[in-house]
């Protein structure tokens, strides 16, 4: 049906569709930044978010039409620092077409990974620190005002300030709550690689651990669990924060094989959930993760 309509529009003269171009349009790559930009822009601009809910920012791909949308946008916003491998070349071609492009990660004082294969390279997951997202909001408000024609600058700045206040409230709340956890228990044993910024902001220690996979969990030996068991025992934690297909089985195996009673807690890391999910917005995602971590460390 939609296709039929399109053909009719073409027959009728072809230029009908161009009214779209009068609107202010911002294209954002990741759904986390998409939420942030939408909060700033409100009804002042049409915000197109390329990455779907519950997707992988490293590998999501876009359609030819979406790529075209980027090349004709007033502003393209992307996370950068190597995060969006799948769409980076489209960002670059929009830039070469003269579209203003902002790499948010580069403007919020990125940190480097400290260990592992990626040591020394920039860590792109700055959003786990709400204070850096506050910085990003100021940067984005400036970019929108400067590049997106037809927006009311006063409205954009007012919206950015209001959202910035929500972020600083979240930051203060998290600082207070993490601060009440004793020093020696502020430890995240995890195979997530995204919480370096959160840890830096709230004085948590991230202990990387290798999690056994599906087939190893079926009948594990001491060596399969060694990395995890050592991390749990050395730091005396009661919860591990794991990206795993079988959290319940992992907890069971740790109890059976190593006598460890730990909870296996899942977190949102690189993507928002669907609109009706637990992490539909950036603020909701941060609150969900904070509750889960605080609950896990205090439990």
């Amino acid at each position: 049906m939609r296709r039929l309509l399109a053909v009719l529009v073409l027959l009728a003269g072809g230029v009908t569709g161009c009214t779209v171009a009068d609107e202010a349009r911002i294209v954002v790559t990741t759904n986390i930044l998409g939420d942030v930009v939408s909060r700033i822009a409100g009804d002042q601009a049409e915000v197109t978010v390329l990455m779907k809910p519950n997707a992988d920012p490293h590998s999501f791909a876009i359609s030819a039409r979406e790529a075209n949308t980027m090349q004709t946008a007033d502003l393209v916003v992307y996370n950068g620092l190597g995060l969006e491998e799948g769409v980076l070349r489209h960002v670059e071609s929009a830039r070469s077409e003269g579209v203003p492009v902002v790499e948010v990660g580069a403007k919020v004082e990125p940190i480097e990974y400290r260990e592992g294969d990626a040591a020394g390279t920039a860590d792109p997951h700055f959003w786990t620190d709400p204070a850096r997202v506050g910085t990003a909001v100021r940067v984005l408000a400036d970019e929108i005002v400067a590049h997106v024609d037809g927006v009311d600058a006063a409205v954009v700045r007012e919206r950015a300030a209001a959202y910035g206040k929500e972020l600083s409230d979240l930051d203060a709340e998290l600082a207070a709550r993490f601060g009440r956890i004793p020093d020696d228990r502020r430890v995240l044993v995890t195979n997530h690689h995204v919480f370096g910024y959160l840890a830096g902001r709230y004085d948590l220690r991230v202990i990387g651990a290798v999690l056994p996979s599906g087939t190893t969990l079926a009948s594990p030996s001491a060596s399969d669990l060694a990395s995890l068991v050592t991390a749990v025992q050395d730091h005396g934690v009661r919860a591990i924060f794991a990206d795993t297909a079988q959290p319940a089985r992992l907890a069971e195996v740790l109890a059976e094989e190593a006598g460890l009673n730990v909870r296996v807690v899942g977190l949102y890391s690189e993507s928002l959930s669907e609109a009706d999910g637990e992490a539909a917005s950036y603020l909701a995602m941060m609150r969900f993760n904070a509750e889960a971590i605080i609950g896990g460390l205090s439990g």
Binding site: R2, S63, A64, N68, T72, G98, S223, T244
Partner: protein, 387 residues
């Protein structure tokens, strides 16, 4: 500036018909419509009784099993990570998409799952000798020294498409898809084995000046640090170095190198081959070749966990043995009646046809049997996919 972009948008809209429908999705490397990205590798054993017209695909995480009906009676099974090539012992090969695979992005990996299904058969001019599938192509060698090249991207899309047929000019039939080309064993006499490796395009035309000697080629493996090809008295490591293919000949201290074919896990840097003369273990990134005498034991297969420390082998009676790579000493033995051995980054899998089981072996823990998985048909032939 703004005006110019408006003009561009008009053009684009006119071309695309101002429509949101009918758009062409741009697909990332390894993407197939209907496939689901998974958080971890979807490892499975694909196995069949000799001559059976059915391939069983056993999910190693969930232990659930599916069956794929074959139009040939399977006599040989070869896998390339995703597709299983079931030979009928003669001129026909059936290609099964097991629906589990891994896409390598070098610094990270993506895992996928889709329904398993047969893609149909290829009928060859002569009996099947070798199959090597990797990246863009699958090269099927036949005993007349010819190679049939299939478009592996088309296999991913569900269609069996022949690209070309290559005449090796010898009675060897070995070609390895690598770096967008084919490394083909060629010779000068149709009744003699090949004596060198050259690079060809998929069309069978020799490309560039790459050429390296290799007497009587006998098996190959595509590893992270290049391709290794076993020859009569050496192993050749071929590597793409700044867009140029280079060869390094690693002379074997003991000849001839066993002709049983390399055992390795995908994306690793080590492979091993075993025979009556012991074990040959090769490291592709370091370009080193090591020979283990293995106490003169009669070995039939070897496989490398690529941990830099150990190698596994099967002897003629079906016993699985783990050797220390450095000293050549035996670390552990599992007295089984195994017919096949394969492994991934976590476990080894050994089929025991008589007992109708597949043993899951923890090769980092003295060959401990982690699980014994019951097979629904006798696993005479067994390969691992989704690794």
């Amino acid at each position: 500036m703004i005006r110019k972009r408006v003009a561009l948008l008009c053009l684009a809209l006119a071309v695309s018909g101002c429509s949101t429908g009918g758009e062409v999705e741009e697909q990332p490397h390894g993407y197939v419509a209907g496939a689901q990205e998974m958080p971890e590798a979807q490892v499975a054993m694909a196995y069949a009784a000799r001559g059976a017209r059915q391939l069983s695909v056993l999910d190693l995480a969930t232990e659930s099993e599916g069956q794929v009906g074959l139009s040939v009676g399977a006599r040989t099974l070869v896998e390339d990570g995703r597709f299983v090539y079931a030979g009928d012992g003669d001129r026909t090969v059936e290609i099964v998409d097991t629906g589990v695979w891994t896409v390598d992005h070098t610094d990270h990996v993506h895992y996928y799952r889709a329904p398993a299904r047969t893609l149909g058969t290829v009928t060859l001019e002569a009996p099947l000798a070798t199959v090597i599938g990797s990246e863009a192509h699958t090269a099927i060698g036949t005993t007349d020294g010819r190679i049939t090249v299939l478009d592996r991207r088309q296999l991913e899309a569900g269609t069996v498409t022949e690209v070309s047929t290559i005449d090796s000019g010898s009675n060897s039939a070995l070609a390895v898809p690598y770096a967008g080309k084919l490394l083909v064993a060629v010779g000068d006499r149709r009744d003699q084995p090949a004596n060198r490796i050259v690079a060809m395009g998929a069309d069978g035309q020799e490309s560039g000046s790459f050429r390296t000697p290799c007497e009587s080629p006998r098996g190959a493996a595509v590893l992270r640090g290049g391709v290794v090809i076993a020859c009569a008295d050496s192993v050749v490591r071929v590597k793409l170095d700044k867009e140029v293919l280079t060869a390094e000949v690693l002379d074997s201290p003991v000849s001839p190198v066993a002709p049983t074919g390399f055992g390795h896990r995908p994306r690793s840097n080590e492979a091993a081959v075993a025979g009556e003369g012991g074990i040959w273990a090769v490291n592709a990134s370091k370009a080193t070749l090591r020979h283990l005498p293995a106490g003169g034991r009669d070995l039939v297969a070897a496989v490398s966990p690529a941990d830099g420390r150990t190698v596994l082998a099967l002897d003629g009676s079906g016993t699985l043995i783990s050797y220390d790579l450095e000293s050549g000493r035996t670390i552990a033995e599992a007295r089984l009646k195994a017919a096949t051995v394969t492994l991934d980054v976590n476990r080894a899998y050994v089929s025991e046809p008589e007992a109708k089981v597949i043993h899951e072996i923890d090769y980092q823990d003295k060959l401990r049997t982690a699980r014994t998985l019951r097979a629904s048909q006798q696993p005479d032939l067994a390969v691992e996919v989704g690794r």
